[in-house]
Symmetry: C4
C-alpha cells in the first residue's frame, strides 16, 4: 500500500504539472537539460575542452547519471511503463542518455547528446503554453494540407537538379571543379537554393550561361513553396477567425488574442 502511494506521489511530481512540486521538478529538469547541452557544445571547443577537461567530464557524467535515474524512476512510477517507453517522450528520454554510454566504445557518439534538446519541448507542457501549441498546430496543419503540393514540388526540384548537374558536368568537367555528377548535383542544389558557397563555380562562358538560367529558375521557383504555404495559412487563419465566436452575441471574426467581444463587449472564451 505504501509503495502504491510512493509511486502515485512520484508520478504526480515527475509526470504531473499541477502540483508545485510537479512544476518545480519540470522547470529544474529543463534547466538541467539546457546546461548539459551547453556543456557538450563548449566541450567541442578545443582550448576550452583541454583546459577544463576534468570538470566537463565530471559534469557530463553527473547529468547522464541523473537522467538515467530519472528515466528509471519514470518507468517505475508510470502506470503503463511500456506505453511510456514507446511514446515520443519515452524514446527521446532514452535516446538522450544512450550517447554517453555508447561514447565508451565510439568517442564521437558523445555529441549526439544534443538529442536532449528535444526534451526541452516539455517546456510547452510546463508553462501552459497551449496557445503556442495552437499556433504550432496551425503551422503543422498548413504544412500537412500542402504536403502533396510540396511533394510534387520537391520531386520536380530533384529531377531538375539531376539534369542541370549532369549538363554542367559535361560542360565544365573535372578541370573546373565539377569532378563528378554527384558533385555537380551538389553544386546545382547549392545554386538553385541561392546558398551559393562559391567553392565550385563555372568558368566557361557556356557554363556561366547555364548557371544563370539555373539561378533565375531557382529565383522563380522559390516563389512556389512560399505561395503554397501562404495560401494554405491564409485559409487556416480565416477559418480560425470564423470559428472563434462570442458566446453572447454569436458573432465571429475576432482576433485569436481578443479578450472581449468587439461587438457586445462580453468576455470571450480563450481558444485552446
Amino acid at each position: 500500500m505504501s509503495q502504491q502511494r510512493l509511486r502515485q506521489q512520484l508520478n504526480e511530481i515527475i509526470f504531473g504539472t499541477e502540483t508545485p512540486a510537479g512544476r518545480g521538478f519540470d522547470i529544474a529538469l529543463i534547466y538541467a537539460i539546457l546546461i548539459s547541452v551547453f556543456i557538450v557544445i563548449i566541450d567541442s571547443v578545443e582550448h576550452i575542452s583541454s583546459e577544463f577537461k576534468g570538470l566537463l567530464f565530471f559534469c557530463e557524467w553527473l547529468f547522464t547519471i541523473l537522467f538515467s535515474i530519472e528515466y528509471a524512476v519514470r518507468l517505475y512510477c508510470s502506470q503503463h511503463p511500456f506505453r511510456y517507453a514507446r511514446s515520443f517522450y519515452g524514446i527521446v528520454d532514452l535516446l538522450s542518455i544512450l550517447p554517453s554510454y555508447i561514447a565508451f566504445f565510439l568517442p564521437q557518439a558523445q555529441f549526439f547528446i544534443i538529442i536532449r534538446l528535444f526534451r526541452v519541448l516539455r517546456i510547452f507542457r510546463v508553462l501552459k503554453l497551449f496557445r503556442y501549441l495552437g499556433e504550432a498546430n496551425m503551422l503543422m496543419r498548413s504544412i500537412l494540407l500542402a504536403r502533396r503540393k510540396i511533394f510534387v514540388f520537391l520531386m520536380s526540384v530533384v529531377v531538375l537538379v539531376s539534369i542541370f548537374g549532369s549538363l554542367m558536368y559535361v560542360i565544365e568537367g573535372p578541370e573546373h571543379g565539377f569532378t563528378s555528377i554527384p558533385t555537380s548535383i551538389y553544386w546545382a542544389i547549392v545554386t538553385i537554393t541561392t546558398v551559393g558557397y562559391g567553392d565550385i563555380t563555372p568558368q566557361t562562358v557556356l557554363g556561366q550561361s547555364l548557371a544563370s538560367i539555373i539561378m533565375v529558375t531557382g529565383y522563380a521557383i522559390i516563389a512556389v513553396p512560399t505561395g503554397i504555404i501562404t495560401a494554405e495559412l491564409a485559409v487556416e487563419i480565416g477559418r480560425d477567425k470564423g470559428e472563434h465566436a462570442c458566446r453572447n452575441c454569436k458573432k465571429t471574426g475576432h482576433d485569436s488574442d481578443a479578450v472581449h467581444c468587439k461587438y457586445c463587449g462580453a468576455k470571450m472564451e480563450i481558444p485552446v
Copy 2:
C-alpha cells in the same frame, strides 16, 4: 489471328496498368530506370569508375539493350505506332536510349542517359497518383495564369541586369575580375538572385555602393514572383474548395482530402 492476340496481350502488359502483369511490368521498369540512372551517376566518380569499369560497362549496355528492345516492342504492339512515337513518352523513350549509341562517337554523350529520369514520370500513372497529378495541375494552372506577369517580370530583370552589368564593367573594370560585359552580367545575375558565389566581387567604394543598390533591389523584387504565384494560388485553392460540393446536402467548402461531408457525413466523391 494469333499475332493479333499477341500484340493485344503485349499492349495490355506494356501500356496498360489494369492487369497484375501490366502493373508488375511498369514497376519493374521504374526500378530499372532508377538503377540505370544511378549507374551513370556513380560512373562519373573517378575512383569508382576505374575500379568497377567492367561491371559498370556491362550494366550500362544491359539496360540500353533492354530499353531498346522495350522501345521496339512498344512500337510493335501499339495500335498507332506513329502517334506513340510522336507522343511525349515516345520521344522521351527514344531520347533515353540514344545517348548510349551516340557515346560510340562522342564519349561525353553517355551522361545524357540521365534523360531517363523523365521516364520515371510514369510512376504517376502506375500508382494511380491522380491526386498528385491534381496538385501538379493546380500548380501548373497557377503558373500558367501568371505567365504574362512572370514574362513582364523576367523582361524587367533582363534589362536591369544588362544595365547594372555594363555599369559595373565601367566602374570596376577587368583588373577587379569584371573582365567583360557578359561576365559582368553574369555577376549581376549571381548578385540579384542572392546566390552570391563571391568568385567576382566589387573592390572599389563606388562599385560596392552600386552592388549594395543591386542587392537591395534584388531583395525587394524577389517579392514580386512570390506575390504573383501566391495570389494566383490563393484564388485556385479558394475555387477548389468552392467546387468540391457534397452530393447529399450540396454544401461546399470541403478540404480536397475530405472523405466524408463535414456537414451531413455523407461519403464524398473523390475529386480527380
Copy 3:
C-alpha cells in the same frame, strides 16, 4: 504642301504602328537596337574585340549614324517636336546615341550605349501587347499602393544595417577585413540580403554570433516586402476579377483570359 505631306507620311511610318510600313519600320528598329546592343556587349570581350576590331568599329558607327538620322527625322516629322524631345521616349532616343559621340573624349562612355535597351520597350506598342501592359500596370499599381510600406521598410533596413555595420567594425576590426564602417555596412547589406559573397567574413566568436543574429533577422524580414506585395497583389487580382463582368448576364468573377462567359456562354469583351 508637298513638304507637309512628306512630314505626315514620315510621321505615319516612324511614329505610327497602324500601316504596314509603320509596323515594318518599328520591327526593323527593334532588331537594329538589339544587334547594336549585342555588338557593344561582345566588343567588351577582349579576344573578340581585338580580332574583329575593324568590323565592330564600323558596325557601331553605322548604327550610331542610323539612329542619329532617325532622331533627326523624328524631330522633323513630329507635330510637337519639343513635346517629343521632352517625352520619355524622346529622352531615351537621345541618350542612346550620345555615348558614341562622348566616347571620342571619354572612351569608357561607349558602354553606356546599353541605354538603347530601353528603346526596346517600344515592342509593347508595336506588337499590341496591351495585355502585357495591363499586367505590368497591375504590378506597378501594387508596388505604388505599397510604396509607403516599402519606404518605411527600406528606412528600417538602412538604420539596421548602419548599426550592425558599426558594431561589427568595433568587434572584428580592420585585421579581419572590416577595414572601415562603410565597408562594414557593405558587409551587413551583403549578409542581410542573403547574398553572402564571403569576401569579408567574421572570424571571432562574438562576430560570428552577431552575424548569426543579422542573418536570422534578414531571414525573418525578407518576409515583409513579400508579404506587402502579395497582399496588395491579391487585392488587385480580386478587384480585376470583380470588374470583369459579362455584358449579357452581368455576372463577374471571370478569369482575365476568359473568352466566353462561364455562366451564360456569351462572348466576353477582352479587357484592356
Copy 4:
C-alpha cells in the same frame, strides 16, 4: 515669472513642432544628427581619418557639446524632466552623447555615436508623416499578431540548426573547417538562411549530402515566415479597407490614399 516664460518658450521651440521656430529647430537638429553620423562613418576610413584628423576631431566635439547642451536644455524646459528622461526619446538622446565621453577611456566606444541615427526617427513627428506612421503601425501590428507563430518558428530553427551543426561536426570534423560545435552551428545558420559565405564548406560526400538536405529544408521553411506575415498582412489590409468608410454614403472599400469617395465623390476623411 520671466523664467517661467523662458521655459515655456524654449519648450515650444525644442519640443513643439507647431510654431515656425519649433519646426526650424527640429529640421536643423535632424541635419546636425545626419552630419554627425556621417562624420563618425568617414572617420573610420583610414586614409580620410589620417588626413583630416584635426577637422574631424573638432567636428565630433562640436556636435557632442551642442547635443549635450540640447539635452540639458530639454531637461530644463520640460514640464516633467524625469518623465522625459525615462521616455524612449530621452534615453536615445542621452545614449547618443555618452559614447563621445566614454571614448576618453575606451577609444572604440566612439563608434557607438551611430546610436544617434535613432534620433532621426523624430523626422516622423516633424514632417507630419502620420500616414507613414500608420503604415509602420500596420507592419508592426502584423508582426505582433504573428509573434507567437514567429516564436514557434524561430525555436524550431534553433533546435534544427543545433542538431544539424552537431551532426556536421561529427561528419566533417576539424580538418575540414568545422572546428567546434559552435562553429558548425554558425555554418548551419549561414547555410539555412541561404547566405552561404563559403568560408566553411563540406568536403566529404556524406557532408555534402547532409548539407544538401539542410539547404532544401531551408529553402522550404523560408516559406513559413513569409506565409505567416503575408496572411496576417492580408487580413490587416482587408480590415483597413473595410473600416475606411465614406461619411456621405457610408460605403467602404476605399484605398487608404483615396481623397474622394469612389461611389458618391464626397471628400473623404484622411485616415490617421
